[in-house]
C-alpha cells in the first residue's frame, strides 16, 4: 500500500504518474512549440524520478544518468528542435487531429495493456519502484502511438524521443538503471539521431515544401501529370558542367 512507503518512495510514484501525464499532454498537443516544451518537461520529470530513485536505492551512478538526461533531453534536444522549427519557420504550425478524444482513450487503453503485461514482473520483483514499471512501458507505447498518428516530422521525432524516455524510465525503475557505459552509448545515439533528424527535416522541406511525411508515400509521377519543375531544369545525368 502507498501509505506504508516512505515519503521519498511516494514521491517517486507521484513523479512517475506526472511523466505519464506529460505523455498524454503530448498526445493531445497539436502545436509544435508546446509539444517541444512538453517533451522538455517530460525529460525534467524523468530526471527528478531518477534522482529520487538514486537517493532511495543508494545507487550513485544514477545521478550521472539524471545529469545526462537533464543535459540532453531537457536542454540540448529541445533546443535543437526549437532552433530547427524557428529556422524552418514552423513554430506556429499546428496539425488537425481526426479524433482527439478517441486518441486519448487509446492512450488510456495502452496504460491498461501495459499494466496487464507488467503484472508478472511486478509479482516477481521486490523493488520499491516495481509498480512504476507499468507506467514506464505505457510511456514507451504512447510514444509509439504518437509516432503512428502524427503526420508532421517534428511530432514523430518527439514521439521517438519519448519512446526513448520510456525505455530509460523502465531501465531505472526495473533494474536501477543500465550499466553506465550502455547509458552513455544510448545517450550519444539519441544525440546523433537528433542531429540526423535535423538534416532530414531540412531535406524534406527542400524537396517537398512541407514536413508532412504522408507526402513521402505518394509517387510524384502518379499524381502530377506535369513533371516537377526541377526535373525539367535538371541537367541530364552524366553531364557535368
Amino acid at each position: 500500500m502507498l501509505a506504508e512507503l516512505s515519503l521519498f518512495s511516494q514521491a517517486i510514484i507521484l513523479f512517475a504518474a506526472l511523466v505519464l501525464l506529460t505523455s498524454f499532454i503530448m498526445l493531445g498537443q497539436t502545436r509544435t512549440m508546446p509539444l517541444i516544451f512538453t517533451f522538455a518537461w517530460q525529460g525534467l520529470l524523468l530526471a527528478v524520478v531518477t534522482v529520487l530513485v538514486a537517493h532511495v536505492s543508494k545507487h550513485p551512478h544514477l545521478y550521472v544518468s539524471a545529469a545526462l538526461t537533464v543535459g540532453l533531453k531537457v536542454v540540448l534536444i529541445p533546443w535543437l528542435l526549437h532552433r530547427l522549427s524557428v529556422q524552418l519557420n514552423m513554430q506556429y504550425d499546428s496539425e488537425e487531429l481526426a479524433h482527439p478524444s478517441l486518441l486519448l482513450l487509446g492512450g488510456a487503453a495502452l496504460v491498461i495493456f501495459s499494466y496487464y503485461v507488467s503484472l508478472p514482473i511486478v509479482h516477481l520483483s521486490g523493488l520499491a519502484t516495481r509498480n512504476t514499471i507499468a507506467v514506464s512501458i505505457a510511456v514507451e507505447l504512447i510514444g509509439m502511438l504518437l509516432m503512428i498518428v502524427r503526420r508532421t516530422a517534428v511530432a514523430q521525432v518527439i514521439g521517438f524521443m519519448s519512446m526513448e524516455n520510456g525505455l530509460f524510465f523502465s531501465a531505472v525503475v526495473s533494474t536501477y538503471g543500465m550499466p553506465l557505459i550502455v547509458e552513455l552509448g544510448v545517450a550519444f545515439d539519441v544525440l546523433v539521431a537528433a542531429i540526423l533528424f535535423g538534416v532530414f527535416f531540412i531535406h524534406l522541406r527542400d524537396s517537398l515544401d512541407s514536413l508532412d511525411v504522408n507526402r513521402l508515400n505518394r509517387l510524384s509521377e502518379a499524381d502530377d501529370a506535369v513533371p516537377l519543375p526541377e526535373t525539367i531544369s535538371a541537367p541530364p545525368t552524366g553531364t557535368h558542367s
Binding site: 500500500m1 502507498l2 501509505a3 515519503l7 511516494q10 514521491a11 510514484i13 507521484l14 512517475a16 504518474a17 506526472l18 505519464l20 501525464l21 498524454f24 493531445g28 482527439p100 478524444s101 486519448l104 482513450l105 492512450g107 488510456a108 496504460v111 491498461i112 499494466y115 503484472l119 511486478v122 509479482h123 516495481r130 509498480n131 512504476t132 507499468a134 507506467v135
Partner: protein, 319 residues
C-alpha cells in the same frame, strides 16, 4: 439517543449555513474578479441584495407556461438543498451523509439539470430549446468525468459516504497520491463546466448566442428566478466544498465541540476564499471556448479522472 439528536441538529444547522453562505461565495468571487480586472467592485453581499430584490418583485409568466414551469424552481432549489445537506462543511460524521452518498449527490445534480432543461423547453421559445440542448450536451460529457473522479476517491477511502471518506483522508495524513492529483484536476474541470464558468460558459454574458445556462432560465422572473439563481450559487459552493473536503480536509471538525467547530469554520472560510481566488485567476487568463471545443475540454477532464482511477490501480494498490 441524545447524541443522535444533537448530531441531527448539527446536520440541519450546517445545511442551513451552507445555503445561507452560498451567495457570499459568489459575491466574493465576483468581487475578486472585479479587482483583478480593474473594475470598481460591488460589495461582497451584493448577491443577497439581488436575491432580496428578485424575491420582492412581481413575476411575469408566459401564457402557455404549464405546471412544470412553475414547479421547476422549487424542484431545483430542493435538490440543491438536499445535496448541500450531504456535504460536510464544518464537521464530519453527519448523520445525513449516511442517507445519501456521493453517487446520489451526482444524481441530485442530474435531477436539477433535467428539470431545468424541461422548463427551458416548456415555454417553447427558441432560446430555451437551444439552451436545453446545449446544457444536456455538456452534462452528458461532464457527468462520467465527475463519476470517475469520485470513484477514484471512493476506491482509496473504500466508501462512497462523503463524511467517512473525508475522515479517512484526514486520518491518513500526508500521503502523496498521484490518483488524487489527477482526480483534483479532473473534478476542477468538471466543476468549471457544471457551474457554467469560463471557458465553457460565461456567467456574466447575456448575449443569446453564447450562453448555455442563462438561455434556459431566460423566461423566469421574480421569485422563481431568485430560487434558480440561489440554487446555482449553492451548486458552486457544493463543488468548492467537495474539492476542499477531498483534497485539503485539514482543519475540519471531527466532533461537535464548540472549539473544533470554530477552528473548522475559520479553516473552511480561508480555504474557500483561496479557492475563489484560484477560480478567478483561471477565469481571467482564459477566454470562453467555442461550443464545439467544449467536448474536447470535457474529454480531457474525463481522461484525467480515468488516469486517476488507473494510477490508483496501477501505482497505489501494489502487486
Amino acid at each position: 439517543m441524545d447524541s443522535q439528536l444533537i448530531a441531527w441538529a448539527h446536520a440541519a444547522l450546517q445545511a442551513l449555513l451552507f445555503v445561507a453562505a452560498a451567495p457570499l461565495l459568489t459575491g466574493w468571487v465576483n468581487r475578486v474578479k472585479c479587482h483583478l480586472q480593474n473594475r470598481a467592485a460591488a460589495p461582497v453581499w451584493q448577491p443577497y441584495r439581488d436575491l432580496a430584490k428578485l424575491l420582492r418583485k412581481r413575476m411575469v409568466l408566459a401564457e402557455n407556461a404549464s405546471w412544470l414551469f412553475r414547479d421547476v424552481p422549487y424542484i431545483v432549489f430542493g435538490a440543491m438543498l438536499l445535496a448541500a445537506a450531504v456535504v460536510p462543511l464544518v464537521a464530519v460524521r453527519l448523520p445525513t451523509a449516511a442517507i445519501a452518498d456521493v453517487i446520489v449527490l451526482v444524481g441530485f445534480f442530474a435531477l436539477a439539470r433535467f428539470f431545468t432543461a424541461l422548463a427551458g423547453l416548456d415555454i417553447g421559445t427558441a432560446f430555451g430549446g437551444m439552451g436545453a440542448s446545449r446544457e444536456m450536451m455538456v452534462s452528458a460529457l461532464a457527468e462520467p468525468a465527475m463519476l470517475m473522479a469520485v470513484f477514484t476517491l471512493s476506491m482509496t477511502a473504500a466508501t462512497t459516504n462523503l463524511s467517512i471518506a473525508t475522515e479517512y483522508i484526514l486520518q491518513a495524513g500526508l500521503v502523496l497520491r498521484p490518483s488524487f492529483l489527477f482526480a483534483l484536476l479532473g473534478l476542477a474541470m468538471v466543476a468549471v463546466a457544471e457551474c457554467s464558468r469560463i471557458p465553457v460558459d460565461n456567467p456574466a454574458t447575456h448575449l443569446e448566442l453564447t450562453m448555455l445556462h442563462e438561455a434556459m432560465i431566460l423566461e423566469y422572473s421574480g421569485r422563481y428566478l431568485a430560487l434558480i439563481e440561489w440554487a446555482s450559487q449553492i451548486k458552486l459552493m457544493i463543488y468548492a466544498v467537495l474539492i476542499v473536503d477531498f483534497f485539503f480536509p485539514w482543519g475540519i471538525a471531527r466532533d461537535f465541540s464548540a472549539a473544533a467547530l470554530a477552528i473548522s469554520a475559520v479553516a473552511v472560510t480561508a480555504k474557500l476564499m483561496l479557492l475563489g481566488v484560484v477560480l478567478v485567476a483561471w477565469e481571467t487568463v482564459l477566454a470562453k471556448k467555442r461550443l464545439f471545443r467544449v467536448p474536447q475540454f470535457l474529454g480531457y477532464a474525463f481522461l484525467l479522472s480515468l488516469l486517476g482511477v488507473l494510477s490508483h490501480v496501477v501505482l497505489e494498490t501494489g502487486g
